[in-house]
């Protein structure tokens, strides 16, 4: 968080309404997102209690475990959940496009992909744990489960993994996405409460948002008072209807908030790079589907040395790209870098479009642009720059003095002796330059897992699912 966001929070606190911290939407929003609100039994890692889910705001599905301590009922619940989620996920596998690749075979990518939206990070964690507790199950053997349950486990594991991947929109946590676009007048800790955050954005702060009797928690943990006074008696009474009704009261308010949150996000225009990131999501999703179709084993319990390093490299790459793309897509995000002196914006007051450097064969066109700016520039001469106005272009800082900055364009102005039309900004144009650039070179190869070196424990034992995994107790 920067001073810019802090100022927005102060303003929100003063004006009693959240303030925007983005001018465009930085996540993809599916046409038909799957809203998924899970509840778990208190005191347990991932024992499901209920879920409300669906793609139609007028028609939520409520799935309930009427006796949460009964393991058969839990698996029956998981099978029911699979009955809703799997058709949704698999529904995107039909329509594909062929993607040509350099140095690799073309592959099929789905033209759209599923999107699961949970209320908060707790929801993501629950999906991950539910995935972990179901993906090793087997439809045969001593503790058989319906065939769909392990498949559900693999997909939930996948979505929860993807949720930790910077810039991915396959599984979103509503509070995170809202927080990326609006600053409330409360702390980021309190922003994890969906009802409280939503009231800051829509009507202004309201202490009722913290009252579990008015706004039940958005899960996966339930309100202890509700557990004691409503749920426990209903379970003890052995009445599935009473349990279901009790849980419905806890889920419906959140269900409404979730769709309201989606509407809020949908009201923002989509950022320019969102489609590109969603394309990567579609590619990843297609890869996962192909993986399952090929009969590959479920995801390992923990990453091996090579898998961990590979994942870290991908995530770091994605994080860097996501940071740059958001700044280029959104002047309000770029303003953070302008404030810290890593970017500056202003009006072009002079240009030398035909400036050249060097002699003879090494003579190069290097158009000069002089910008007048109010921003505090903290960039050294020679720093490479990029600009959101001309994304393919590269530039370098020549000098910065007293609000006047000279940059030279080094790349992307055409190959002729003079710059291509439009390549050099006109006098009077507003431009922004930043040292933040996305010029990633690719990362070096890792060894094959079988060739894990001695420094990292040597080749790992190959994972083969064992009966013990499938029979792991689920009490």
């Amino acid at each position: 968080m920067s001073l810019l966001t802090s100022l927005a929070r102060l303003r929100a606190l003063d004006e009693k309404i959240a303030q925007p911290v983005a001018t465009v939407r930085h996540c993809h929003l599916a046409e038909r997102p799957m809203v998924f609100i899970p509840l778990k039994l208190s005191g347990e890692a991932a024992a499901p209690l209920a879920a409300m889910l669906g793609t139609d705001r007028g028609d939520p599905r409520l799935l309930v475990v009427p006796q949460p301590r009964n393991r058969d009922l839990r698996f029956a619940w998981a099978a029911e959940l699979a009955g809703v989620l799997l058709p949704y996920v698999e529904g995107f596998l039909g329509a594909t496009e062929t993607v040509e690749r350099r140095n690799a075979d073309p592959y099929e990518r789905t033209v759209d992909a599923p999107q699961i939206i949970v209320p908060n990070q707790g929801g993501v964690a629950f999906a991950r744990l539910l995935g972990r507790s179901t993906r090793f199950r087997r439809p045969d053997g001593p503790y058989p489960v319906p065939e769909s349950v392990p498949l559900l486990g693999r997909w939930l594991t996948y979505f929860a993994e993807r949720a930790a991947y910077p810039g991915s929109s396959l599984m979103l946590a509503a509070t995170d996405e809202l927080g990326r676009h609006w600053a409330s007048g409360q702390s980021s800790l309190e922003d994890a409460n969906l009802a409280a955050l939503m009231s800051w954005i829509t009507t202004g702060p309201n202490d009722e948002a913290e009252d579990p009797l008015v706004w039940p928690p958005a899960g996966p943990a339930t309100d202890p008072g509700f557990d004691a006074e409503v749920l426990a008696p209903a379970i003890d009474a052995g009445s599935p209807e009473r349990v279901a009704e009790a849980l419905r009261t806890q889920l419906e308010p959140t269900w409404r908030l979730m769709w309201q949150a989606i509407d809020l996000l949908a009201g923002l225009p989509e950022g320019a790079s969102v489609a590109q990131r969603w394309e990567q999501d579609r590619g990843s999703f297609s890869g996962m589907a192909a993986h399952i179709a090929e009969g590959a084993p479920p995801q390992a319990r923990r990453d091996g040395a090579v898998a961990a390093a590979a994942k870290l490299a991908r995530m770091e790459r994605a994080q860097a790209a996501y940071d740059v793309q958001r700044a280029y897509d959104d002047p309000l995000v770029m303003a953070e870098y302008r404030l810290s002196g890593e970017a500056f914006a202003g009006e072009v007051i002079e240009t030398v479009p035909d400036n050249v450097e060097g002699e003879g064969r090494s003579r190069k066109l290097r158009p000069l642009v002089v910008i007048k700016t109010d921003d505090p520039v903290r960039l050294a001469p020679g720093t490479s720059l990029g600009t959101p106005q001309r994304r393919a272009q590269g530039a370098a800082l020549v000098s910065a003095d007293d609000g006047l900055v000279t940059v030279k364009i080094t790349k992307g102005m055409g190959r002729g002796r003079t710059a291509a039309p439009g390549a050099v900004p006109e006098i009077g144009e507003r431009v922004c330059y930043t040292s933040l650039t996305d010029d990633f070179q690719g990362s070096p190869a890792l060894p094959e897992a079988e060739a894990t070196p001695w420094t990292h424990g040597g080749p790992p034992q190959e994972y083969t699912p064992v009966d013990e995994d499938a029979q792991e107790e689920w009490s």
Binding site: M1, S2, L3, L4, S6, L7, A8, R9, L10, R11, L13, D14, P20, T23, L41, S42, G43, E44, A45, A46, A47, P68, L129, R132, S133, G185, Q186, S187, S188, L189, E190, E210, T222, D223, P224, G225, D227, A228, A232, R301, R302, P331, L332, A335, R338, L339, D374, D375, P376, E472, E473, W474, S475
Partner: protein, 376 residues
């Protein structure tokens, strides 16, 4: 003893602060929580005086947002019972694994059998004997009762189990019902368990020292026992609590410096709840609230998960328009500017920076300029 009774004596002053309200005994959780916000004078005084902050918060109309689900309680009890069943048979299996207990036969002492009032003395005698001639056999002590001096009071502490290992080392066993899944557990839950276990380590070390034994016979590695994965089957993990011990020692030492805080307070200031015959507080809420406001709180949003008084102090911060509401990080970013109005005034340029505020004013104005430019 006359020294203890002299006017303005800290112990007496703390008793005045508490008034007629019975002292709330410190348990390990409360002692561990001392480190949560040491900069808060209000909290330090209330803890030092042994005041029930939960009861005070309720009476003030700001009940703490902490509750425990009956399901979680049942689960915790069931798990502890399972670990301790059949003379801690399961526990022994695990201890053999993580500590390398070499012997098959381990003695089991349930200290509770002697009756509550004797438990502490009995624990002391057993530990003394074990420390003196402990080379013969490993012993498990169930329901022991330890003590620790806190700001002039003795707090009694009940660790889950103390295990005594053959090698002449005591290990504290902490049983928790949060899950360890594929070797990982919720880091804040583990931290909580580690802080609590550190209190027991310190108390047992103090006991050994009093008895003339080497306090370092108590290991800084505690045995954390949790359910593994999604089942009830327990798994034991060693947790090194040296850092938590250092923090705890620091906080206990601080408790002896409460007189500095007391010095600035009026002599008759009291946080007395004035419990009636039924134990319910009778003190007028406004009066108690005024008394509390005479002490300085240091509210931060982190208090919402650690302190019973959090909603009271948050409300106070709201009334004052304090930037503390937004979190420690925001507060630090604003340099010395404590109030929301002041910060916004500097940003808008409607307020001239006071001496020393020139830089934050420049930064805020710049931020305000950028926000305006981007949003219009």
């Amino acid at each position: 003893m006359t020294g203890l009774m002299r006017e303005g004596d800290p112990v007496r002053r703390l008793e005045v602060l508490r008034g007629t309200t019975p002292p709330r005994p410190h348990d390990a959780r409360a002692i561990a929580a001392l480190a949560a916000n040491p900069g808060c004078a209000r909290r330090a005084l209330m803890d030092g005086a042994g005041i029930d902050k939960d009861a005070a918060a309720r009476h003030l109309g700001f009940p703490a947002p902490f509750g425990q689900s009956p399901f979680a309680i049942t689960r915790g009890n069931a798990f502890e019972a399972l670990v301790k069943a059949d003379g801690c048979a399961e526990l022994l299996r695990m201890l053999r694994e993580v500590l390398g207990l070499p012997i098959a036969e381990v003695a089991y002492h349930d200290v509770e059998n002697v009756g509550a009032h004797l438990r502490h003395a009995h624990t002391r005698a057993l530990i003394d004997r074990a420390a003196r001639d402990g080379q013969d056999a490993g012993t498990l002590y169930d329901h022991p009762l330890l003590s620790l001096g806190i700001a002039g009071h003795t707090a009694y502490l009940e660790p889950d189990v103390v295990a005594f290992q053959l090698g002449g080392r005591f290990h504290i066993v902490e049983i928790k019902s949060f899950a360890v899944i594929d070797g990982q557990a919720d880091p804040s839950a583990v931290a909580g368990a580690a802080r609590q276990a550190a209190v027991y380590v310190l108390a047992l070390r103090a006991m050994l020292e009093e008895l003339g034994h080497d306090p370092l016979m108590v290991s800084h590695d505690v045995v954390l026992v949790c359910p593994e994965n999604f089942a009830n089957r327990p798994v034991a993990t060693l947790v090194d609590v040296r850092r938590q011990l250092a923090v705890l020692r620091r906080q206990l030492a601080r408790m002896t410096t409460l007189d500095r805080l007391l010095d600035g307070l009026p002599d008759d200031l009291t946080f007395d709840l004035r419990p009636g015959e039924d134990g319910r507080p009778t003190r007028p809420v406004a009066e108690l609230s005024d008394a509390l406001r005479r002490t300085t709180a240091r509210y931060a949003p982190d208090c919402l998960s650690t302190c019973d008084l959090c909603f009271f102090c948050r409300d106070e911060a709201r009334q004052e328009g304090a930037s503390d509401l937004l979190g420690r990080q925001v507060r630090d970013e604003l340099g010395g500017v404590a109030s929301v109005d002041e910060a916004l005034g500097l940003a808008d340029g409607t307020r001239d920076p006071a001496e020393g505020q020139e830089e934050i004013a420049r930064l805020l104005r710049n931020a305000e300029r950028l926000r305006r430019e981007c949003l219009t």
